[in-house]
Each structure stands twice: as structure tokens, then as C-alpha cells.
Symmetry: C2
Subunit: 418 residues, 2 copies
């Protein structure tokens, strides 16, 4: 087998541990020096390949690549850019082949979620469709935890841990304020199509906190919801609500869209949390506080789960090994062997069954009333948030990697990304 | 000196480390067993004293009181309730004396901010004004860091650390997304009257992050602000904005109030962050994300600063020692001896000079353009966020204390808190 270079890129929303996967890919590729030459990272995802904007990761020290494991965000830049079909956008695929050929690239590692798996699948087809020999392996990553065929997705465990810890802490706060002040705390979390992240908020019930979870999977019933909150407040003196940004009404409208346009005709920018908080205030009269965690939750490397950081690294390493075994159009998938003790292994999932498929919360993970999680779900979640994979600190702030990101000399004419 | 019992209560918004002060008061009082009998905690602050709702902390184990040091929220409940003047509300003060007398209370420790210092001062005057012998000592606590006569306030360092760490992490996220997606991230933080918390966001500039800070102390100038953001985006590709909830226009209106009422006549619930984000979108066209940290920031015990947790404990211990030395109407105050190495000691501040006084950011801590912090300010902040005082975890979630909170048997008739 002739030695070929590898291309690696990050795609879609980044996570607290996507760089751990990058570290896994790069360190493992360095170990296969007889088969893999250099690892070129695409600057800003697939756009880096199209524009021949490549980063030579061999210029980074061993220490920098190791530190990458503990650094949030996407060290090489990410993108929201989906390749169209091969038939309609032949020009883009030809360009990819030109760039791959010019830089002797035989391996394509794409680190992303469902949309990115689709891009990776399309690249994998270049081998047959356009006679360019390449192996494309997808490295799973998404805080949404909605990829099929894998027990969980690297990136999710750390967000879940952030949500569980933050919701618990804020609940202890509101509990102390409830007598004369705030009685309800509303926390909005990510997950536009699936409630996995919101589900993590349900874990704090075991810590004596009355919590009501709103999932995208359960159509919102305002009366039932308000009754549930009131019952919790009456009994415990306070209540915490964890609402998914994807929570929606029976007719499909997001809760966050409920707010009418303001006097200037602007769309209401508040998310689901202020809408839910206002609803509670109007119907029940309770003083509230609300938070929207947004990027804080998916960037929170300081509270990353050990399970998650480890799996993210291993997913990168497993992808390289799959390539070495001759695979194409696949993704390393996490297979759970047991809950307690938690054991798992990496298997292989065909991209054709991964791309564009969303895995929602199974109904038996949600309590019959629709506002909490079941013991099955807790059993699923607990090992994923276990362990604290702390970064190092200097002067009170984490030490995160800043790479040199040395560009590879261009060999081709420029190309317009449309 | 006859042995007397002590009363301890928590007041106002709680913090990640107010329970460390409680732990300091209780453990230190236990060491003075010849002078101090039991420590009775007020359930829900001063309301616990008025309603004779006392908690017997002697029923808590040594281990529980030690764990309290690492537990966020207010373990005995807090309140937003300010005693009126002695002249106009004699009835309340007489009730306090009845309760203190019935439970042989000679020491009053009140753990709070500026308003609470005023309550503590009023109680301290009971000795002279109503001939009831009591020593009232204030234990400083406020995330806002706005108490005078103390170099910093327990509670602030941990919020500052949370803001610096979170802003840095989210900035690494937006930096990776900026090519095709989000270019500006807006983080709203607490501090209605003073910009200390927002200032902590300015620390991440030293990590290569372009950050624009909006302080309550600097009247908001929309054109200058937008120009500043645009310059940052043009140069770095992205920008982070840290906005204080107290940021306001020249005429005193809060930015958060800018939104007009909606079609139903409701007040706009979005905070300052969505207002600022929309402004940027409209004027500059950049895609944005925004977060409102709210209670998450002040409850985030998982990322508490070691300096802060230690000072909170020591403030509680110092308060008890001041009482033992015969003081009344005072507060232990932190006096900074040097920045580097960071050294401090506890002095004594008279409550008459503390109550109802707010300490704002000095102008020389804010850069001339009004959007950042100076080297003086960084020198001030750095030691306060230093060190990671991690709690213990079980199954991925912190182990926080839950006290038994055994009530003391009531001896008096009930009393209506108005």
C-alpha cells in the first residue's frame, strides 16, 4: 500500500471535546507513519478542501497535539456547509479531487454530526463515481446525541454533565430564595430535534430537586405543564424547569416562536426559557429567573465528562484504524456492553445508514406524564457524565491549546465557494 | 462573660460560597464553647428570627458542616427582607428581642450584602436603643463585589472565575464557527449597579480573544459600540461581547428595557443580551448567539475559585472572633497587602460606613474607550479567581450537603411578618 496523506476536518457546531477527536486522529496517524504521510486539516471544514486552504498538522508539536485533547471549540475552524448531490454539483466534486490529487490525499476523516455524515458519504463515493481512490471515514460528533447506530455521540456526555451540574446548582440557589423571592427557575438547553440534552436535567430529581423537563418529543400541553409546576411548588416550595430549545406545541410551532413580533415588527429574540417563565408568572404568579446556556453548555470543557473526553479521543483513533483496515464510507460506532460497570467497544456503522437519520429519545425513556425521565433513561445517562476530565489552569483560567495552523503551500488556482 | 447562644442567618441573593461562611461561623463557634452555646440558624434569613423559626445547627454532624463549605446556595434559606427604621417599626424590633431573649441569644451574625449590612446595623443598635445586650456582626457576601471598605467580597471571586472561564470557552467556540456561521457571541452577566462581574470577561483578552465589555458605569453609546464590534470582527473574524445586566443608556434606562412592550402589552422579558445581539444583527448583519447566565453564574460551585472559597470561610470565622473580642456593629473586611504574591488580612469595618453604600468600578480600571479593563484592573482581579476549589463528585454530579435543619422548639406566640 503506497503511503498517502490524510485530510481531517471539523464540521457543524463544535463541542467541548471535538478537538479530542482531532488529537486522536492526528496522534494515531502519526503512529501509522508507514501508511499515512501527513495529516492536513481543512481550515473551516470542507471549505478548506474546496479552497485548498490546508493546515499542516505535522508542524504542531507533540505537546500541542496532546493539549488539543483538553481544548474546546474547533481548533481548525468548522463550517456549516453541506455538499449537494454529485449529479447537480459535479464542479465541486471535481475540485475536491483536484485538491486531493495535488496533495496526495488518500484518507478523508470528517468530524461531525448527521449532515456531515452525508458529506462524508458523498466523498466516499468519489472512489467509484469519479475513479479517485479515497477512503472516507466519519468521526462522530454532536452534542445533540442524535446519530443512529451508535450508543452515544462524543460531545453529548459533556453537555449532559454541564446541564445536570448547572441545573442542580441553580436549584439549590432557587430553593434558598423561594420563601420571599424566586420560586421557579427555568433553564433553556440545546437540542432542536431531540431531547437528549434536556433529559440530563432530569437526573437531578435524584438529588431531591423538583424538576419538570420539556422535550421536543412531547407536544407541549400548557395546562398540564402549569398544573405540574404548581404541584411541585406547592409541595417543595420551588421548582426547576429544564426546557429544550426544540420544545414545541402540538401544531409544530416552537415554544420560542410563540412571542409575537414587537412594535418594530422584529421577530422576538427571546428563546423558549423567557416564554415559559412568562407563562408561569401569568398563570401562577410566581417570581422566576431564567437562563439560556447557549454556547456555554457545548463549550464547557472545564466540566467535561471523563467518559466523553475519552470516547471522543478514541473515536478519532478508531477512525484511523478503520481506514488502515481498508474501510470506506463507515463510522466508528460506540456499542454499549454493560451499564454497570460501564463497558463499551467500538464497532463499525455504514454511513449510508447514518447520514441524515435522527435518533430521538425512545418513549420508554420519558415518564408517562411526559415531564421527566425514567429509570431506564437514568441508567443510560449516568455512565456518560461520569468523571471530571479537568484541564490545567494558569492564573485561574484554563490553559487551552492555540495551534500554529501553518498553511500548506497552494498548488492550484483559486476556487469560489458558492 | 456568660455563655450565650448565637444567631446566624443568610440574606439576599445567595452565592456559590455563602455556605462556606456558614461553615466558618459554625465551626469557629464550636471552638469557642466556653463563650458560645449553640448556633441557631434563621430559616430564610431574618424572617426566621421574626417568626421564631430557628434551626439547631448543633444537630448537624461535623462532616455535614465541613461539606457545607463546598455547597452552593443558602443551606438555611435566605430572604429579601429589609428591616425598616426602629422608630417606625418598633413592633418588629420588640419581637426580635423577645425571640433573642427566649433563646438566650447574645450574638447575631448576618451574612449578606449592602442591604443586609443595614439590617445588621439596626440589630446592633438594639443594645443601646432598647437595652437588649447583643453583638451584631456582619459577614460580607455578595457576587456584586460592591461593598465598601473591603478589598473584595466573598462570592465575587467565584462568579468572576465562572465568567472568565465561560467567556473564554464560548469564544473558542464562536471563533471556530465564524467563517460560515456565528460571528458574534453575547454573554449577559449579573451586576445591576456595578460592573465588577462584567469586568472579569475582560480578562480573556489576554488569551487572544477580541472582547468588548459593557459596564453599568459607562453610559452606552450605540454608535461607538457598533464601530468597536465591527472593528473587532474585521480584524479577528469574530467578537465576544460581555454585557452587564446593569448596562444603561445615557438617560439611565437599562439596555434590557429598550425592547418595547409586545402586542399583549407585556414587558419584554429578554435581558440585555438579546437586545445587544439584535442591535448587532441589524446594524452589521452578523449572525450571533447569546447566553444569559443568570443563576448559573452565582451558583457555579463546581468552578469556585480557591481564593474566594477560602475567604468566604475565613470571613465567617473572623466574624466570630470579632464577637469574641467584644465588637459590635462591625464587619470583617479584607485588606489586600500585596498583589503578587497575593497576600491579605482581615481588618474591621464599622457597619455605619458599610450599610447602603455601593462601591463602583473606579474609572482607572476601565480603558479610556470604555469597552475593556486596564492592567490595574487585571492585577486586582487575577488573584481573586485563582485556584480551583473542586467539590467531590459521585456518578458525575457534585456531592452537596443536605442538612437536617432540625427546628428549635418554639416558646412564643406566632408573629405575622408583614
Amino acid at each position: 500500500m503506497a503511503r498517502k496523506n490524510a485530510f481531517y476536518a471539523q464540521s457543524g457546531g463544535v463541542t467541548a471535546v471535538i478537538n479530542a477527536s482531532a488529537s486522536g486522529v492526528i496522534q494515531t496517524a502519526r503512529a501509522y507513519r508507514n501508511q499515512i504521510g501527513k495529516v492536513y486539516a481543512g481550515r473551516d471544514g470542507i471549505i478548506g478542501a474546496l479552497t485548498e486552504d490546508l493546515i499542516d498538522t505535522s508542524k504542531e508539536s507533540t505537546a500541542a497535539i496532546a493539549l488539543l485533547r483538553n481544548t474546546p471549540g474547533g481548533a481548525f475552524g468548522s463550517c456549516r456547509y453541506k455538499l449537494k448531490s454529485l449529479e447537480s454539483h459535479r464542479r465541486e466534486y471535481q475540485r475536491l479531487i483536484e485538491v486531493f490529487e495535488a496533495h496526495d490525499i488518500g484518507y478523508f476523516f470528517y468530524n461531525g454530526g448527521g449532515d456531515s455524515a452525508d458529506t462524508c458519504l458523498k466523498v466516499s463515493q468519489l472512489a467509484e463515481a469519479m475513479n479517485y481512490p479515497i477512503q472516507a471515514i466519519h468521526v462522530p460528533k454532536t452534542v445533540d446525541n442524535d446519530l443512529p447506530l451508535t450508543d452515544c455521540c462524543p460531545g453529548f456526555g459533556s453537555v449532559a454533565k454541564y446541564v445536570a451540574v448547572s441545573a442542580l446548582e441553580a436549584s439549590l440557589d432557587v430553593r434558598s430564595m423561594a420563601r420571599t423571592s424566586t420560586k421557579v427557575f427555568v433553564l433553556e438547553v440545546m437540542g432542536r430535534h431531540a431531547g437528549w440534552i434536556a433529559a440530563a436535567g432530569g437526573l437531578i430529581e435524584d438529588h431531591g430537586v423538583p424538576v419538570v423537563v420539556l422535550f421536543p418529543e412531547v407536544p407541549f400541553d400548557e395546562q398540564k405543564f402549569l398544573a405540574r409546576v404548581e404541584e411541585r411548588v406547592a409541595r417543595h416550595g420551588f421548582c426547576t424547569v429544564v426546557v429544550s430549545e426544540g420544545a414545541r406545541h402540538e401544531d409544530g410551532r416552537f415554544l420560542a416562536q410563540q412571542g409575537p413580533r414587537d412594535a418594530f415588527g422584529h421577530e422576538q429574540l427571546g428563546g423558549a426559557a423567557p416564554v415559559v417563565a412568562r407563562m408561569i408568572r401569568q398563570a401562577l404568579g410566581h417570581k422566576f429567573h431564567w437562563a439560556v446556556a447557549d454556547y456555554l453548555q457545548r463549550a464547557a470543557r472545564h466540566i467535561a465528562s471523563t467518559t466523553d473526553a475519552r470516547q471522543a479521543y478514541e473515536a478519532g483513533a478508531a477512525a484511523v484504524k478503520l481506514a488502515m483496515e481498508g474501510h470506506n464510507a463507515v463510522m466508528p460506532a460506540i456499542e454499549r456492553i454493560s451499564d454497570k460497570p460501564y463497558r463499551y467497544r467500538f464497532g463499525v456503522a455504514p454511513l449510508s445508514e447514518v447520514a441524515n437519520v435522527e435518533k430521538h429519545m425512545p418513549r420508554h425513556y420519558i415518564t408517562p406524564d411526559g415531564f421527566g425521565i425514567t429509570e431506564d433513561c437514568k441508567r443510560y445517562l449516568r455512565p456518560l457524565i461520569r468523571g471530571e476530565d479537568y484541564p490545567k489552569y494558569k492564573d485561574g483560567v484554563p490553559v487551552y491549546a492555540t495551534l500554529k495552523n501553518v498553511p500548506v503551500a497552494r498548488k492550484l488556482a483559486t476556487f469560489d465557494v458558492r
